[in-house]
Symmetry: C4
Subunit: 232 residues, 4 copies
């Protein structure tokens, strides 16, 4: 019984963060989970992207304990662990400090749904979770960041299968998906939507949100029983 | 009788969208038409750019029915079909969600004609078509998007041979031209003009539109009987 | 007697505009002059950068008449011709529509001298020449653009050896220098200074201009009898 | 006894400024010090990055006197010399005119600490040293720039081991570190934090600084006795 598959998935995903311009230096981390075995493969902490390989991905269980690997896992490992524990259908998690999404997080504002580019991916504003309380920060910080994410979604009655991205106030975006490759895709989209929303509001501070009919139409094109986008 | 030529033209055009940074992920689509046979070749839906080939372009007739091809055509196919049906001289159509042009579309504002870069290509603001009515959205949405474009031009008394680009409110830009390669060129120009207009209005919110004399002069340099730009 | 040297210089300069991201499509043109023979080599009109070669540069005299070359010279040729005629020490001229410099030109505003990056190159704001009169536009437009540039500098008592760049209102930047390679360098600097000034004024609309002492100090480091920058 | 090691370190660092997009033309310079021998290797003045080699780095002592090398050292050499003299633990210094950090310097404003990306690296705003007095500018300018930096840090009671970056008003950023490679890293971070802060304040002019608890938590993750980021 080995972990080669999730190691390779996690490796590919971390490298894609770099090649898509979502991370600089050693920022960011991606993980790929195996829910049956309740483990995930994640980037080692502080290692430059050029030195990553499938072999140096770290295998961690859903409590955050290292199962296999020589290196220390990402310092954000416990945040990933919480998302996998709380949400059954999630196969991958990505965290970046991509420029525009992070700026919205620093602004403590949801990214408003202003166009169909946004609606093709989610039908609500990209939520910005509130600043964490001093108690959450002082304690088990990374684990609490995970709960801040799951609770923020729950409070807004959002399903993590419908909304696959969130900003954490004063921090940065987290994304997820059925696979880690989908989670990487969501990070790319989150950054692009954030950039477009920034420019839109600079051009027109009063730009209105997308109207209901258009939101639903675009979302249904890509999702649900009558979807007609893509090849399946 | 085969479709190799328009397939190859459409393929090259779609790849150019990617290499010119106008699309991310699977966003965007380009098509090349043969008006004699009333068909066009268009990008398959949801297929990554790296997997495109001349062979997997889909041949569709002007009613939007697939004539040849294994894959499902772009979900925007019916919008292309309407433009080809309504406008005789159009050989190519391109749709992107390029960042700055999309931000203007989300702002629901025409891109004002502020300089000669703009006037070298069109002598009016880049039109932003109004938000579509709930009836148009709920019904045959993509076909209606095509009519929204052709009607918006008609209402402003603009000829699609003079104005080869438009923004659809809350959506994104569409461009066209005598050839699909000209339509791609227009997408590049539309994005650059949109970016320049954004920066200009940030520097000087009261920046005035280009005066009539300069508009006409620059346009005539490139178009019409006394043009003296280029080699023919 | 041949023109190989200026042809090659002009070719290299035009290619450098492309590789430095200052031009898209067929925008922009660079020329290299030989003042003894009163001729210059310039980019042919409307030819894509990938198709340029030293051989297809066009040789034109200082009145704008083609001396040698199969292709039509740049539509901006007469502007270059005026600068060479009016200013003896100028060996190269460059015209681009680079994004940020063009946005300032569209704003009809000088680029304010806000830092030492600017002062290392010129000790005054980058001048923005006024919009041309209807008479100048209607007549010999490109030649008049040249005179608009030389007159604007003269009216401000600026020497083209000290100030090697200008914006033409609603149009775009022109730069020059002792060699065309210096003119290309000035185009790169003009764009970067324009971008920095835009961001500075967005951060702080009241950002003050650089004080006299700092302006002079930085300029003297690179220019004049006591310069101590570079290797000669 | 030779200087090959610091020459190579300095060379690599200067090339990294270019490949990370922090410098254009001949802007910027990096140096690597040997505190035992009280010398440092620095970029030659005004030489294009393509022509740099370990061999043409210039060896200078802590008074700024050239010890070995054919070329004139960077015009900013004396600023580096002061930092090495005043601060014992510093192994490298970097100076760039990177776009966003320079814009903040031109704005004469500290870069506010708005998020954890910033707090991961320093727990205070990036300081912007005041404009230098006319006396400092007129005299030994580059040496005085060094003292402006060390005094500004001292006046704010900041330790150069905790705060490894500063902006000099109307000029640009300087960074340093235990090694020159760390100083380059700090230049990359300084530019990215500056860009994020710019966008944040454009989105929300009232965006609040990061609260104390979060500042400390993120900084302790990477620094100090209980750090748990990276592999050592």
């Amino acid at each position: 019984m080995n972990f080669d598959e999730i190691r390779y998935e996690a490796y590919k995903a971390n490298m894609a963060l770099k090649s898509n311009g979502l991370v600089i230096a050693t920022f960011g981390n991606a993980s790929a989970a195996d829910h049956n075995r309740r483990v995930f493969a994640i980037k080692p902490s502080g290692v430059p992207y050029e030195e990553l390989s499938p072999e140096n991905m770290v295998i961690v269980d859903f409590d955050g304990k290292v199962i296999e690997g020589e290196l220390r896992p990402s310092s954000d490992t416990l945040t990933h662990a919480v998302l996998y524990t709380e949400w059954e259908g999630i196969g991958g998690v990505v965290h970046t400090h991509s420029t525009y999404a992070t700026a919205w997080a620093q602004s403590q504002k949801d990214v408003p749904i202003l166009g169909t580019t946004h609606a093709d991916h989610l039908v609500v504003d990209i939520p910005c979770a509130p600043v964490m309380s001093d108690e959450m920060i002082a304690g088990d910080y990374e684990r609490m960041t995970g709960y801040q994410i799951t609770q923020s979604l729950a409070e807004r009655n959002l399903d993590p299968k419908d909304v696959e991205m969130i900003l954490v106030s004063n921090h940065a975006p987290f994304t997820w998906g059925a696979t880690v490759s989908k989670a990487v895709y969501n990070s790319i989209i989150c950054e692009e939507i954030s950039k477009m929303a920034f420019i839109t509001r600079q051009i027109n501070p009063d730009a209105q949100k997308l109207k209901e009919g258009l939101i639903n139409k675009h979302y249904e094109r890509k999702h649900g029983p009558n979807s007609y986008y893509g090849q399946d």
